[in-house]
Amino acid sequence: MKANGLSEFLAMGGYAFYVWTSYVVAAIAVAVEIVAVRARLRAAVKSALRPERAASLPDDTQ
């Protein structure tokens, strides 16, 4: 595509709404999944290492 300037690029030949909705929804979905999965792993590790369990582990694991 020969984009003469940013506004023409953003206009997507009149299809801006359809094109950018697709790209933005995809970006949001990926971002939300990354944040959610990392939070899930953190929570799982935290729960597995909660104090009453960690007390039975060697000291250097704290």
């Binding site: 359809y18 094109v19 697709s22 990354i34 899930r40 799982a44 290492l49 582990l57």
Partner: protein, 250 residues
């Protein structure tokens, strides 16, 4: 490279051995996904020419086709691990299937939304009950059904078996999605890429689409490897090795 036979497959098939491997692989697949996504977006949005018939609306293809491919491919891989878990009764296979489902559902939602966004300018409607779209919607319900069934059963091993049967029965839907544009006269167009005929798309369009597909593939592997770590910790948190492994991996 070591010969395949020297890799300790059975040892790697235990969650305790797979956990550190998954942890090491994540940065590589994440970096690969990021590089491929930047390259694919550059090709798709800046390099590929405007389509003669569809104008710039066709640029949705760089999200839509990779998402639709992944929605089907992830289901096949999930069903494969379900079959392995039912046959050999291995925990890791069931955990991998469990880890794949949400990402498969995410790609199915994206395929449906971007399809609607493309359908309106191309056909004048966001949605039609044609065979391709209806079978893709059924795929979404299969992912949701698989996850809901898992969540409804408290015992993880029973949940593994019940959800594996559901996933395997539902696998019949994937070839229906794929061949729907051949078997029925659908509003949806035929396959964009064919193994048996020369590409009909401009080479920059095709390259951009394939690069985005590889980006989606790397992303799916990376996110699944993170999720399977979470699932391993959730399900094995009373095992002795978890206590020994986790402090080192924080």
């Amino acid at each position: 490279m070591r010969p395949m036979s020297s890799i300790p497959w059975f040892r790697l098939a235990s969650p305790a051995s797979f956990f550190p491997l998954a942890r090491r692989l994540v940065p590589w697949f994440s970096a690969g996904a990021a590089v491929l996504a930047v390259a694919g977006l550059w090709l798709g949005l800046l390099v590929a020419p405007t389509d003669a018939q569809q104008g710039d609306a066709y640029r949705i293809i760089f999200i839509h086709v990779p998402a639709a491919w992944m929605s089907m491919f992830i289901y096949i891989v999930m069903a494969f691990w379900c079959a392995v878990s039912l046959t050999f009764n291995t925990r890791l296979a069931a955990m991998l299937a469990q880890a794949l489902a949400p990402t498969g559902a995410m790609f199915t939602v994206l395929a449906l939304i971007t399809g609607a966004m493309w359908g309106k300018p191309a056909w004048g409607t966001y949605w039609a009950w044609d065979a391709r779209m209806t079978s893709e919607l059924i795929l979404l319900f299969l992912y949701f059904g698989y996850m809901a069934l898992r969540n409804a059963i408290d015992d993880p091993r029973r949940a593994d078996r019940a959800s594996a049967v559901l996933a395997l029965v539902g696998a019949v839907n994937v070839p229906i999605i794929y061949f729907s544009v051949k078997w029925w006269n659908t509003l949806h167009q035929g396959a964009s890429v064919s193994m048996t005929s020369a590409p009909t798309m401009a080479v920059q369009m095709l390259t951009g689409m394939l690069v985005m597909a590889f980006a989606a593939w790397f992303y799916a592997i990376a996110i699944t490897l993170i999720r399977v770590q979470a699932i391993i910790v959730e399900r094995e948190k009373n095992a002795r090795w978890i206590g020994e492994l986790l402090p080192r991996t924080r």
